[in-house]
Symmetry: C2
Subunit: 569 residues, 2 copies
């Protein structure tokens, strides 16, 4: 029984339709939002009723339906509007706005569910012969337009290939600490199967509950504990992909010296070369302990210095997540108020007798959530190390409560977005990364680009950021921005996104650290990789998918250097 089995998914938003972000205990939240954004509109912005959304008819011919059913069985194909609707978009701000408005002009013509690698390969072979387009679909949580039909290409027949039935852990090699797993498995089901054998992948992106191993690999995803366990590309040692030019199998090996890395060539290919059906990953023993705590710093710069120090020496942290002053303020506003009189008393006393050091009194104070995982000795050594470096940057240890609270809610924030959209608020996130030397300037550039763009577009806005995914050589910056929706909120969003992307590229940051390229970042990829880099990627595309059947329009927009399509989507 899968983790999400029986759950009613929210077609217009995040996750479980029965679940809402718990704001009841946070009386300061809405006042904070209104103080930053201005008064909220009175009426709620609810999604259009499902029954009012009319999808265009599927263009799949009866004989093609039969051909697909011959491969997949009757259960393996659907042209039902509900299935086509839930496979039409990912979960980006643009997606949710369009879904709520009932704007679904280009859903896939059919959804197919292969039961095996062979099914997937046969469907791709058929699609190639028929010149259909195939969009691989894992959990559908892309925030860059990775799973939608690009409007410009919508004259082609599109299949959405949902990997949900390829959800088995095939083999766990406990001695070698590797696991061979079908690519469509969801995060919780993967971890349940692995942990039953005493091991874990340790990969927990925010989308963990609703995203798949194949999706993580296809987009170079990063988990919240990536500093310890690595990004997904550090875990993959072998894979299997069905492509228009046949099956590509990369045998699982600890390392190799046999040409360019084929794993690395498929990692991040976003379904444009084929569909991943199987992945072999490194796993490790379940850490007996995890210990997450909060630390307060008088400034972002001091927090950043501490994070760098911690990741460049001593026991490897699992998580280092440093909020800037505006995110710290938002987190404080979201804190649940103590419920009982007794708790209020305790908190009051604590406040009175707490050291009023600079970390508490500074108007620029910033919260760090730090976590260590492993054996008791390792975790203790980690916190000893934190204590030994805190003073240098006036950090104040807040104890386990903030850590527990973050850990508990670490997959919940996307639910809050639905609540914000209900209230007419535009909210989105974007991320990049850079070296430690680059980061302060990169942070400044992006933050002011966002603030200026929000002002230009609609007036006030709230911009906040945290540093996460720390490496010895740098870290990721993850921004959240909000404003009241304007009438044309997609244009509003587009303008802000463009300003931020320009700032990222001007500051030498990564176009994306872990959200991938999809449709949204594709126009900027030539700037990121250069003309010759794009040529190389096009060469691979041309070799494995010359008919451009696989997720066309994503990642690489051109269809080969000399093709007439050059320069167009």
């Amino acid at each position: 029984m899968g983790y999400n089995e029986g759950m009613q998914s929210k077609w217009w938003g995040w996750g479980d339709s029965k679940k809402r972000y718990p704001l009841e205990q946070s009386p300061n939240f809405w006042p904070f939002i209104e103080a930053r954004l201005g008064s909220l509109p009175q009426q709620q912005h609810r999604p259009s009723p499902r029954e009012e959304i009319a999808l265009p008819a599927s263009r799949l011919h009866a004989d093609d339906r039969t051909a697909l059913q011959m491969i997949l069985g009757r259960e393996g194909l659907s042209t039902e509007p509900n299935d086509r609707l839930t496979h039409a978009y990912g979960k980006s701000y643009r997606d949710l706005v369009r879904l709520r408005r009932g704007e679904v002009p280009h859903p896939p013509d059919a959804v197919v569910w292969p039961r095996s690698h062979e099914d997937a390969q046969r469907v791709i072979d058929l699609a190639t012969a028929k010149c259909w387009a195939v969009i691989p679909f894992g959990g559908g949580t892309s925030v860059v337009g990775g799973v939608e039909v690009p409007a410009e290409l919508s004259d082609r027949l599109f299949l959405s290939m949902d990997l949900a039935k390829l959800n088995q852990v095939l083999d766990v090699d406990v001695l070698s600490r590797t696991a061979k797993v079908e690519a469509g498995i969801m995060g919780p089901d993967l971890e349940a199967a692995l942990q039953a054998q005493g091991v874990t992948l340790g990969h927990y992106p925010q989308s963990f509950e609703f995203s798949t191993l194949g999706g993580w690999v296809a987009t170079r995803s990063a988990g919240q504990q990536s500093t310890k366990y690595g990004k997904i590309e550090d875990m993959v040692i072998g894979l299997k992909m069905a492509s228009p030019r046949g099956t590509l199998t990369v045998k699982a090996l600890p390392a190799r010296s046999t040409g360019p890395d084929l794993n690395g060539l498929i990692l991040g290919s976003e379904g444009t070369l084929g569909v991943l059906t199987e992945v072999t990953v490194r796993v490790c023993p379940i850490p007996p302990q995890h210990d997450y705590r909060g630390v307060l710093f008088p400034s972002f710069e001091q927090g950043l210095e501490t994070v760098r120090t911690l990741v460049q020496g001593g026991p490897t942290p699992a998580t280092l997540r440093l909020s800037d002053v505006d995110e710290t303020a938002a987190l404080m506003a979201m804190r649940a108020e103590p419920r009982s009189a007794w708790k209020r008393l305790v908190e009051g006393l604590a406040k009175r007798y707490l050291v009023r050091g600079p970390a508490v009194t500074s108007p620029e104070r910033c919260l760090l959530i730090a976590g260590y995982e492993g054996g008791q000795a390792e975790v203790m050594a980690g916190w000893d190390r934190v204590r030994s470096v805190l003073a240098e940057n006036e950090g104040l240890l807040l104890g386990r409560d903030p850590g527990r609270s973050w850990y508990r809610g670490r997959f919940e924030l996307p639910y809050l977005r639905d609540t914000l959209l209900d209230r007419g608020i535009m909210v989105d996130t974007l991320e990049t990364c850079g070296s430690w030397s680059q980061l302060p300037e990169l942070y400044r550039l992006i933050r002011s680009a966002l603030q200026n763009a929000l002002e230009r577009e609609g007036g006030r806005g709230h911009v906040m950021c945290h540093l996460s995914h720390a490496y010895p050589d740098g870290a990721s910056l993850y921004f959240t921005f909000m404003a009241l929706q304007t009438e044309d909120t997609l244009a509003q969003w587009q303008a802000v996104k463009l300003a931020a992307t320009d700032a990222i590229l001007a500051g030498g940051g990564a176009l994306s650290h872990h959200h991938a390229v999809g449709l949204d970042h594709a126009p900027f990829l030539p700037q990121e990789l250069g003309e010759t880099g794009i040529l190389a990627l096009e060469g691979i595309k041309q070799a494995l998918d010359p008919e451009t059947c696989m997720n066309p329009g994503k990642l690489i927009r051109r269809i080969g250097p000399d093709a007439p399509e050059k320069g167009t989507i």
Copy 2:
């Protein structure tokens, strides 16, 4: 002043022509060799005198010479026989045999030395226009035929592009622990420049003294301390390459999610896509201590279990190098005898009172060299961990002497090969890797394939192996094989190599873990990567080097899926 500046290189063998492997203190060495291989021939096999080797004339036209000199200056081009000879081969057994015989039928027509990236790009542009072939040349230490002109393609004009003048460390970012370095820098010069700023790359392949950063990257090299510092592909975060389709720059970033990894696509491309001119690498602080020691085990299996245990938990070792019984015997035979009466007395007493445990008495005893590097606490913790797991597999700690001795001589063994060739002995090495579950069977398969092939080819032989480059999920196996040369020793070598490669592939090991593909492994690459994998690599080649100017015949033998050259070199 470079480390090797002023040194007279041995054109027919390894390194410094003034240096020989010190066997004077090892009276047991030659008796051991004769016991294993049979009586050695009386006469020495010396290389042909240099003056007897006649090279074919360079085919470079006068006007082309002028055109190249316009780009490179007068000093930047040579068609001198000596320069063409020293750029004709790498340092494989085949290379040394042919050099000693004076067989150099296809040297490059000219050697060019670019002084900058721009020089390299302009030469490649010219070569592309003229349809010349260009072989990038770093230290010329390839053992797989990576830098030679393939006989089958020798009707083309070949340039050897020597990167020796691109040897500067351009920037060390101590804060971010990264360094931007020109690709032609030799190991010792790189480390000298880095260590002057308090950091190290930690990459020490056996060829370290005579190989280059660009060569390491182009071949996915592994250093002897790879367990701590990573393989070269773990260190590269950005690079610059001159290709026939222009300059490819991968900007240096800690991580990214922007499509397939372009660094990973160039790493291991062996000069077939372009010439690397600049690499940005992760560096780390110079470890204040290194502590290498010997440990003896009663069997290879018990040593292997211990290595796996050490790499799967506790402080990360720098080196774990476990010799099998035959390599342990060879190492014992190579040991210098104590020189003084006093030393003999001490050794005698030590022998008498040493615990006669199974590690000492077993006829199957195996030597492990283990090393930890880092701060004192880390190194001590490492050895505490070793001590805590030794008993489980009856390991006996031998102390620092064997460790020091290995560390001191870690770059010396290639000199011994020259001595063995002088005595008419065929000697070569090959390597692979596999998961911990695979390794015992893989070891057995390769070992018996080598033994059988040596017997078939010439009678007796000596096969020995060590496990090194340990990862949590597996390790490398590194074999050395020897026999008396037969009359046609290249055919003898070829047969043995083929048998071992078949065994490696049958056992599911890597075709190569760190020696790359070159000419020697190219025929097996389709078996390793599969038809679709090869198609993908050909796609990149086709995109960046459609005229196949860059190191043709290496790595990928075909010239694009639909080209008439298909199936030929």
